[in-house]
Symmetry: C2
Subunit: 314 residues, 2 copies
Amino acid sequence: MRALVFDGELRLTDIPTPVLQQGQALLKMRRGGICNTDLELTRGYMGFSGVLGHEFVAEVVEGPSEWLGQRVVGEINIADGDCDMCRLGVPSQCRHRATVGINGHQGAFAEYMALTTRNLYAVPDEVSDDQAVFVEPLAAALQILEAVHVSPRDRVVVIGAGKLGLLSAQVLRLTGAEVQVVVRSDHALPLLNKWRLPALRADDLPVNQADVVVDCTGNAAGFAAALDLVKPRGTLVLKSTYADLPQANLTRVVVDEVRVIGSRCGPFAAALSLLRQGLIDTQAMIAMRYPFEQALSAFDRAFQPGTLKVLLDF
Amino acid sequence: MRALVFDGELRLTDIPTPVLQQGQALLKMRRGGICNTDLELTRGYMGFSGVLGHEFVAEVVEGPSEWLGQRVVGEINIADGDCDMCRLGVPSQCRHRATVGINGHQGAFAEYMALTTRNLYAVPDEVSDDQAVFVEPLAAALQILEAVHVSPRDRVVVIGAGKLGLLSAQVLRLTGAEVQVVVRSDHALPLLNKWRLPALRADDLPVNQADVVVDCTGNAAGFAAALDLVKPRGTLVLKSTYADLPQANLTRVVVDEVRVIGSRCGPFAAALSLLRQGLIDTQAMIAMRYPFEQALSAFDRAFQPGTLKVLLDF
C-alpha cells in the first residue's frame, strides 16, 4: 500500500498492508489532516520514524463484525488498560502508551491502518468527513474545559490564531465567557470577525486582567505574554509543546500565585457531539486539500506560515 | 531608634521612630526571624532600600486601645482593600499592595515599626515568642493546603530541606499523606528522623510517582527534579521565588498534563492555631539567636549554607 513515511526524509513509498493483531480493526483511510505535530516530527521531534499522521476519518474494512463498514475516527493514545493511570480512568496518560503516528505506532497517512477497536468512535451520518477529520484536534481543544473550570463571568485570552488556537477559541466561546484572541498577523482576522471574537495585538495587551489564558504558541514569547495577561491567582493553560527548553519567569508564577496547567489529548465523544450540533465551524478552517499522492506538496503548503488545516483526500 | 537598614549596604543605624498614620499601631519589637528573602534583598532582589525584616513578634505600645499591650504578629501585605483582588477576598494579591520589609513599607528589624491594625493578629499566651516568630513562614507553608487539595492517599515530595521546606513538610505530614523530603546534604537528617519523614537523595528519585511535589529550592535544578518526581496529571507547587529566568521543560508540563501552582503568603490564623496546638516543631528549627545589636553577625550566620532559622532578640 502507499504510505507517507518519515525516516529522516519525508517520502511517499510502498509498504506492506498491516496484518491485524488481536482486538484490532483495519481502517481504510478517507481523509487526513496535517497537524503542527506532524511538521515538528519531520524536524526530529520525538525521534519518530515511520508512517506519519494522527488526524483522520476512515472506514472499517476488516475486523469485528459490529465495526465493519462503519465510518470512524480514532483516539490516538493506545493504552495498556492496566497501569495506574489507566486504572485512574486516564488512558491518555497510560504509562506504557503508544501514540498513533507519533510514538511507537504506525500513523494514518497510508491507505490502511490497523488500530485497536477500543480506540474507535463511530461518526454519525450528520458529521461529514471534512468535519470528522477535526475530531482529534477539537477534542484536544475541549480538554481545556476538562482541565479548567471556565465560568461565564471569566475573561479568557487565547494566544495564537493558528489551527489549535482557533479551535480553542471556538470551544471557549461556547462557555459564554468573554474570549479574546492574540494575533501576530492579519490572516485570522476574517475568521475572528465571523465568530465575533475580538483580536488583540501582541504589542498592546491588557496587563494581568485575564482569568484564564490559553497559550497555543509553543514558544517562550507566548509563555511570557501569557504571564503578562493572566491576573493574580489566574490560570494559564499550556496547549502546545514547546521548542527546546524555554526560559520561564517562574518567580512571577510564585508571586502572582498563577496556576499553570498542561493540557494534551481530549474527549472524542464530546468533540463529535459539538460537530453534530453544528457548534464548531471547521469549514472555514480548511486552507487546502490535496490528493494523497500529492502529500509532499500538502506538507510544503502546511509549512507556510499562517496556513490553517491542510487535508489529504485518500 | 536603632534599625537594620539596607541601601546597597547592610548596616545598623539610627533612624527616626515612625509617626503613626491613620489606622496604624506602633509595635515594639520582641523577636525577629531572618528569612531567605531577607538574604536575597541584600543581594539586590526587588531593588529594596530601607529597614529589612518581615518575620516578627512585637508588642503594641501605641494605637487603638483594644490593641494596646497586646503581643502580636503581622500579615506582611498591606492591601488597599479596594481593588478587584481585595474585593475577591485575596488581599495578599492586592494590586497596589506594599509588603513589610520587602516593597514599599518599612520592615521589622528596628526597635519600632508602624503597621495598620488590619494586619495584626493577637498571639495567644500559649504561643511563645520563639514560636510566634515562625507564624509568617508557617502561614506561607500552610498556603500549600489552600492552593492544593492534598488527600490522605497522596504521595507528596518536598524538594529542599531548608527553613521553608521543613515547615512545608511539617504542615504536609498533618494531612496523613505519605511525605518525603529530597535532601542535598545530611544536615536535616536528624530533624527528618525526629519527625519520621523519610529523606530522598537527589540522585536517586522515584520517577513520576508523586501526586504532589513542592519545590522549595528556588532554582532550575529544583524545578527539573520536581518534573521528574511528579506523576502525570499531578501537581507541582512552587514555594520559592527563582533566581534569574530558569529554563523550564514546559513541553513536559504539557505532555504529562502537570499542574504547576505558584504559592505565596498564607493564613496567619491557621498558623497560630497549629502552633497553639503544639503541632509544629519550631524549637528544633532555631539555629542560633543574636541580640539585635549583633544583627550583622546574625546575617552572616544566616548566609551559611544549611543554617536554619536565625533569630534576633530585641
